[in-house]
């Protein structure tokens, strides 16, 4: 009988996605997309993927909403929030989309059912240094992938910063934020960060043995940073500050150092020998969580602005 819950959830996810695409107005689409992210977090729990649900919850509930709504506000101040009236129904696009969905459904039905999970993983897991298999895959077995992905985040941030204007370069990141002293928003910004930092650190810390880890905890900490910045508790830093730049590269740097350490010990680059795997992964997790948190927070806040761009 429990499939009825899955059916309800899937129907709602699909309906919300359709509302995002078909509804008139950009703002409505953004709100439905936020709801969509929340529902996806529930779907990941139903699919037994709590690690994914943690990341989706922090990103879907917190970061995407702020990112797109802030963009909407900026577009509105540039007079670019309006949408042209819908043209004719795009039949070719609808047919192509239906074909794409059909192909994926066909692939699902046609694909043979593999033995799950692969026996290689179960054999290798005791040597990984951590008990959470997702963390073992991320930071040990597929370390190359994860290392390069942490560099991709950095590349995205560099790309975003290249959009800053020359006269804004020495300004703090994002728009200047101000709140009524002692007001509701200011109080919220004071109460939430301590709890949030605690939750984020906890999620990073338990990642070795239970659902959690650098990516999940890093996204939580990034969202906490956004709360603190929006509520005026902290001022966003300037691009030129060295300490913050160091925080951005700490994760990839420690990851790379651990990889070189593995090579020095004769196990090969990015292959963690069993006796140092546990402590190496712990060090990587902490540094990577810091870098992911700072990078994502900076990406959402946006490039440095003077606050006069829209006038």
């Amino acid at each position: 009988m429990t499939w009825a819950l899955d059916a309800t959830l899937c129907a709602m996810i699909l309906a919300v996605a359709l509302a995002t695409v078909l509804g008139r107005g950009v703002f409505r689409a953004i709100v439905f997309f936020v709801v969509y992210g929340l529902l996806l977090a529930l779907a990941w729990v139903r699919l037994d993927a709590v690690d994914v649900a943690l990341a989706e919850a922090a990103i879907g509930a917190g970061l995407t909403g702020v990112l797109f709504l802030a963009a909407f506000g900026r577009l509105a101040r540039s007079g670019a929030d309006a949408e042209p009236p819908p043209g004719r129904v795009n039949i070719a696009a609808a047919l192509a989309s239906a074909a794409l969905t059909g192909a994926l459904v066909w692939a699902w039905v046609a694909l043979p059912l593999p033995g799950r999970p692969g026996p290689e993983l179960a054999e290798a897991l005791p040597r990984a240094g951590v008990e959470n298999p997702v963390t073992a895959v991320l930071l040990n077995f597929r370390a190359w992938d994860t290392l390069l992905e942490s560099v991709v985040l950095l590349a995205a941030l560099v790309g975003l910063w290249m959009l800053a204007r020359d006269e804004a370069w020495t300004e703090p990141l994002g728009l200047p934020q101000h709140v009524r002293p002692g007001g509701v928003m200011a109080s919220f910004g004071r109460i939430l960060p301590p709890v949030g930092v605690l939750v984020g650190a906890y999620v990073v810390y338990v990642g070795a043995d239970r659902p959690g880890g650098a990516f999940q905890g890093g996204t939580v900490l990034a969202a906490v940073g956004i709360v603190a910045a929006l509520a005026g508790l902290v001022r966003p830093p300037r691009v030129t500050r060295r300490a913050w730049r160091a925080a951005l590269v700490a994760g990839p740097a420690v990851f790379l150092a651990a990889g070189l350490g593995g090579a020095a010990l004769g196990a090969g680059f990015l292959t963690l020998p069993e006796r140092i795997a546990g402590s190496a992964i712990f060090a990587i997790e902490i540094a990577l969580a810091l870098s992911i948190a700072v990078t994502l927070a900076f990406l959402v806040i946006g490039p440095p602005e003077t606050g006069l761009e829209d006038q």
């Binding site: 499939w3 899955d6 699909l14 996605a17 359709l18 995002t20 695409v21 953004i30 997309f33 996806l40 779907a43 139903r46 699919l47 037994d48 993927a49 690690d51 994914v52 990341a55 995407t64 797109f68 963009a71 909407f72 540039s78 670019a80 949408e83 042209p84 009236p85 795009n90 696009a93 609808a94 192509a96 794409l100 994926l104 699902w108 059912l113 593999p114 799950r116 993983l121 298999p133 997702v134 073992a136 895959v137 991320l138 597929r142 992938d145 992905e149 991709v152 995205a156 941030l157 790309g159 975003l160 959009l163 990516f215 990078t295 994502l296 990406l299 959402v300 490039p303 761009e309 829209d310």
Partner: protein
């Protein structure tokens, strides 16, 4: 029909929905949203594939987690480009599509 198949079909439908939005929408912010729908639809599809046979497979989960984070960073870059375009032109649409409205 098992629950996992249901999620796989939902993922497939999400990819189609997002693909339609990507082509049909003209406002660029909506295109980024649609692109995210495609991405997350594929994540759901992949996650469902990993959950077949009862136990959830950690390998797709690890891929999806990094994928979600990278998708957010790509969205942030795209949003930055759109805002820069809108400030330069006063419109958030591609020039060749900017007719009417």
């Amino acid at each position: 029909m098992s629950g996992v198949t249901l999620y796989a079909l939902t993922g497939a439908a999400l990819v189609g929905t997002g693909f339609f939005g990507l082509i049909a929408a003209r406002h660029l912010l909506r295109r980024v949203l649609a692109f995210n729908l495609i991405g997350s639809g594929l994540f759901v599809y992949l996650g469902a594939a990993g959950a077949r046979g009862g136990e959830a497979d950690p390998v797709p989960q690890a891929l999806i987690i990094t994928g979600i984070v990278v998708a957010l960073s790509a969205s942030a870059l795209a949003v930055g480009l759109i805002v820069a375009l809108a400030r330069a032109r006063g419109r958030a649409m591609l020039p060749e599509e900017d007719v009417g409205g």
